[in-house]
């Protein structure tokens, strides 16, 4: 044994420790999801629960699209189509299985009961079907360099929408389903009216359990050899190829994974309370919402995508009844002045200006008796424009939240000290 080998052997963790280490973050994630679920009584705060579930679903969507648009630098604008494929697959599976198994399309069993496991299984199948669709769409379009993917995903989204609109009426009884047979039932997805009657299973726990899995996979990917290959394709595809990175293979891999997670998010969406699976709901507009989250978060930043998904989901709801913003303004101002970089003066000026403007609008609307909720989409668009002016590279740029700012500086200092 050479000295190097011996040192490597000493440093390598035993297999059990390694297994524990990779399971630990997932356990923590699931624990957090459970705590959130139990801490927030859904019957008490139905609106907050719904928004929180929406945030979770959008986080899965944004983080998975980050794998394609952020990591590998491709441009997909059809993420909602994969969401639709997964959502309809999962929704139909749960609904029709429920009819056949329990003779009712309603919720079955309590927390972690049989119905919930059927729902989880359906979502995973939905994810797998979406991933397969991703492979079919991705393989031909990702062999080429350039913007072909954008065009192909755009077309794919339209194809999915039109096909879903042509499907037959939803069946209501187990007898109907038995009589019709598999193929007929599988194409009875509600057509243009949408798929109604999918039982409600998407609880905070399950949504955030899948959020945890998505985040873990995305993080593992980004900071592995795979991740380096993904990022190198984004940075310079020819150079990546010259270094032996099989660019097509990695692009397809990222695309298939992203489609799979979008499918799972679709499954969660389908089983949400008060949601109808509707071909138009999961169309181009939805795809673009997800792209907006990725761009706003910063191309390739997982934490950025999470932050952007949360902000863009909560913001329109907040704007229904505009609260006072000056406390938030003061907080941002203080943080900016304390930790900001060389442009902190400009940042402070913007913060003060924006806060004052919003407060003025709020005051004016109250005085004139205008209902601001009617105009909330205008404010939503305006705030998007503002954010892009203030941070054109996205909230965290291409890095993660802990790699920049004060935390990043502390970590970098530590790393330098640890290095020989």
């Amino acid at each position: 044994m050479t000295l190097d080998q011996r040192r490597a052997a000493e440093l390598a963790p035993s297999r059990a420790v390694a297994a524990l280490r990779s399971a630990a973050p997932l356990a923590v994630g699931l624990g957090l999801a459970l705590a959130l679920h139990l801490g927030l009584d859904a019957s008490d705060l139905p609106f907050h629960t719904k928004v929180l579930v929406d945030v979770g679903i959008n986080v899965i969507l944004a983080v998975s699209l980050t794998m394609v648009n952020g990591f590998t630098g491709q441009f997909s604008v059809g993420h909602a189509a994969f969401m639709a494929v997964g959502g309809y697959t999962a929704g139909a599976l749960t609904y029709y299985s429920s009819l056949l198994l329990w003779d009712s399309g309603d919720q079955h069993g309590g927390f972690l009961g049989a119905g919930e496991w059927l729902f989880v299984g359906s979502c995973i199948v939905g994810g797998l079907v979406a991933a397969a669709a991703g492979y079919v769409v991705g393989l031909p379009s990702l062999r080429l360099r350039g913007d072909y993917l954008a065009i192909v995903t755009l077309g794919f989204g339209e194809i999915v929408r039109v096909i879903l609109q042509q499907t037959g009426n939803v069946k209501f009884t187990a007898d109907e389903v038995r009589e019709a047979g598999f193929l007929d039932t599988a194409t009875s997805l509600g057509g243009a009216l949408g798929f109604t009657g999918v039982p409600t299973y998407s609880s905070i726990f399950w949504v955030y359990a899948f959020v945890a899995i998505t985040l873990l996979v995305a993080h593992r990917l980004k900071f592995s050899t795979y991740g380096r290959a993904f990022l190198s394709i984004r940075e310079d595809e020819i150079a990546a190829e010259a270094m032996g990175v099989r660019t097509t293979r990695y692009k397809v891999l990222a695309f298939v994974l992203a489609a799979g997670f979008a499918g799972i998010a679709g499954g969660m969406f389908a089983h949400q309370s008060g949601a109808t699976l509707n071909p138009r709901e999961l169309g181009f507009q939805k795809s673009f919402d997800v792209v907006t989250m990725v761009v706003l978060g910063g191309m390739g930043s997982i934490s950025g995508a999470v932050a952007a998904a949360a902000i863009l989901t909560i913001l329109p709801e907040l704007l229904r009844d505009l609260p006072h913003v000056w406390p938030a303004g003061v907080l941002v101002l203080a943080l900016g002045l304390a930790f900001g970089g060389p442009k902190r003066a400009r940042f402070a000026l913007w913060t003060v200006g924006v806060t004052a403007a919003i407060e003025a609008i709020r005051f004016g609307a109250r005085r004139l008796g205008v209902n601001l909720a009617d105009y909330r989409l205008i404010f939503y668009a305006l705030s998007l424009i503002l954010m892009m002016i203030l941070r054109p590279q996205g909230i965290f740029g291409v890095r993660e939240a802990w790699e920049i700012g004060p935390i990043g500086r502390i970590l970098a200092r530590r790393a330098r000290r640890a290095a020989p």
Binding site: D4, A229, S232, A239, A242, A415
Partner: protein, 237 residues
Amino acid sequence: MAMLEVKDLVVRYGAIEALHGVSLSVERGQIVTLIGSNGAGKTTTLRAISGLVRAAAGSITFEGRPIANQPPHRILRQGLVQSPEGRGIFANMTVAENLDLGAFARDDKAGIASDREKSLSLFPRLRERLSQNAGTLSGGEQQMLAMARALLARPKLLLLDEPSLGLAPQVVQTIFQIIREINAAGTTILLVEQNAHMALSISHFGYVLEVGRIAMADKASTLEASDEVRKAYLGVG
């Protein structure tokens, strides 16, 4: 038998033929340079050799094995490594991550570590900048990074595409000095350059490429002294 043998290489971009039958060979242990003006097909020739563009006709043989139209990662594994034109560094990744990607196709950890050490001692400036984003390096440092990264792929034959591009004369001197050192340490080099004078001064053999054809081939010193080359590429006359 030469290390690299290119015969009658034809490359087409759609309907346009960029190379009309290029033949050249590189002897083991030498520095061979390919000079020519803009658009002559120098980069295309290198890319065809490393598998980045398809060869429409002709043969490419490396150490006796045909490699034409094999995928780039397979060609790379045989020891033929290209440092692409315009440096092609990964700007939003750190210097260390860039170097790691050079060794992407390898899995011998100990070998990678020692090669990394060798590369860093060849380019000491990179060591100071390991945790810095590659995009924040100066042009010369980026070129050094591109070469260090290529060395981490452990080339037997290193293809260098315009290493002097956009660099200050003094930096070019340094880069060419290092190219010599790399060659002296046992790596064969095929160098593409517009800076004909610098390239010929460190090379053993040279080819002059003119609109997709080899116009001249001779010992580098002979080329440097020839009237045609002096007039066309050295600006003396």
